[in-house]
């Protein structure tokens, strides 16, 4: 066999074997990986809308997904808004829990972030950042409190505390929250997302 033919044959055979090997591994792990993602989302919904028993996806578009959380009786008790946007260094994505009329934020959970460790990465920190989001009035766009204060009592009704040394990361989360809330309101108005409270009324 000439060298050229041998080179082609050897590379092709290695490629084919590797390819079929990978296809097998891919098939074997696919289901579990999808399940892991699903579970992570469900956990986030249960965290941001307390008392959720079951949840379902209501709407999805690029950078935004809306989940509905239902309690034991099957009544819709809140929306889980999975949104993402650009932070200081990379994408930030989070799950935001609101009530069905989009007037109160129940809780916020950061799903993914690659902010500076020790500074911007504190957006994941419950005591430094996330606790200030709990039960926050969001009928008006939220604003940032700068410089930072120590307790939630010192904040105005629509104010969110800044992380000292990480203004841009705090601001990024705030902007994504405001714009996604705006977008969800628009979607509900246009009838893409049904909030059952309106049906009852």
């Amino acid at each position: 066999m000439s060298l050229y033919v041998r080179m082609v044959v050897v590379l092709t055979v290695i490629g084919l074997i590797s390819g079929s090997f990978l296809a097998t591994v891919g098939m074997l792990t696919e289901e579990r990986i999808a399940l892991n993602k699903q579970r992570a989302i469900e956990e986030a919904i249960t965290h941001v809308i307390p008392d959720t028993e079951s949840s379902e996806i209501l709407y999805e578009e690029k950078g935004l997904a809306i989940y509905g959380g239902r309690n034991e009786e099957g009544v819709l008790i809140g929306f889980g808004i999975l949104a993402s946007g650009i932070g200081f260094q990379d994408k930030i994505s989070f799950m935001l829990g609101t009530n069905t009329s989009l007037t109160t934020i129940k809780r916020l959970k950061i799903i993914e972030q690659k902010e500076t460790p020790g500074l911007g990465a504190k957006i994941e920190d419950e005591d430094v950042f996330l606790k200030f989001w709990e039960n926050k009035d969001c009928s008006e766009p939220l604003t940032l409190r700068k410089p930072a204060v120590k307790t939630s009592e010192e904040l105005g009704p629509t104010e969110i505390n800044t992380i000292t040394g990480a203004t841009i990361s705090s601001e990024s989360v705030l902007k994504i929250v405001n714009s996604s809330l705006e977008r969800v309101r628009q979607l509900i108005k246009e009838g893409h997302v049904q909030s059952e409270q309106q049906d009852v009324n």
Binding site: V10, V25, T29, I33, P117
Partner: protein
């Protein structure tokens, strides 16, 4: 062909030819994911998985690979095992997989792995290549553990996630930033060279 004893083949990876401290190979993952011990350990084990399996395969099929396409063949084999490692992490250890992010696929370009295929597995028997890969992997894991222990203890005051420093300790944030990785690696390399120098003097 290597003329070392099997034992030496294994231990050379730990010190004499340690991939990080002596050969300065695989520095990208060494610097990037050693902020926490758990990440360093996971990265070390994933690299070990790929290195050992690739060495076994390359040493078994080296006769059939024409010299001209050996690098391409090695890379395809390495990339396959890296993808397997990536999928297994994503399926069974989602938290670690999320932490390591793009650095798992980047094991493909870790020079330790391709370097061992080129310098050792393509010239030596399957059993020797296996021992060599094991030794190199262990050397790499130990180096990552050394770096990540120092960085996690000084940078977060924890070890393996457990608080080890008292409340008086203020974490040095720089140690978990990229600069801390370079500082730690530099100091460790200096210490390694110093020890090597002392050993040579004694001989």
């Amino acid at each position: 062909m290597s003329t070392k004893s099997i034992g030496q083949e294994f231990t050379k990876g730990l010190w004499d030819e340690n991939p990080v401290f002596r050969q300065l190979l695989g520095l990208c993952p060494t610097l990037a994911v050693t902020g926490w011990v758990i990440n360093g350990l996971a990265m070390g084990l994933a690299t070990a998985f790929v290195l050992v399996l690739s060495s076994l395969v390359v040493a078994s099929i080296k006769k059939f690979i024409p010299n001209q396409v050996r690098i391409a063949s090695f890379i395809v084999i390495i990339a396959s095992f890296v993808t397997v490692a990536d999928r297994i992490l994503a399926a069974y250890f989602p938290a670690i997989s999320k932490e390591l992010g793009p650095y798992v696929p980047l094991i493909v370009v870790n020079c330790v792995i391709l370097g061992r295929q080129e310098a050792f597995s393509s010239k030596n028997s399957v059993s020797r290549s296996f021992i060599d890969a094991l030794g190199m992997s262990l050397g790499f894991v130990l180096a990552l553990l050394a770096l990540s222990s120092i960085r996690e203890i000084l940078g977060s005051g924890t070890f393996f996630g457990y608080q080890v420093m008292g409340s008086w300790f203020k974490p040095w944030i720089i140690m978990i930033l990229p600069a801390g990785a370079f500082l730690t690696l530099g100091v460790l390399l200096g210490i390694a060279l110093h020890i090597e120098y002392k050993i040579k003097l004694r001989k």
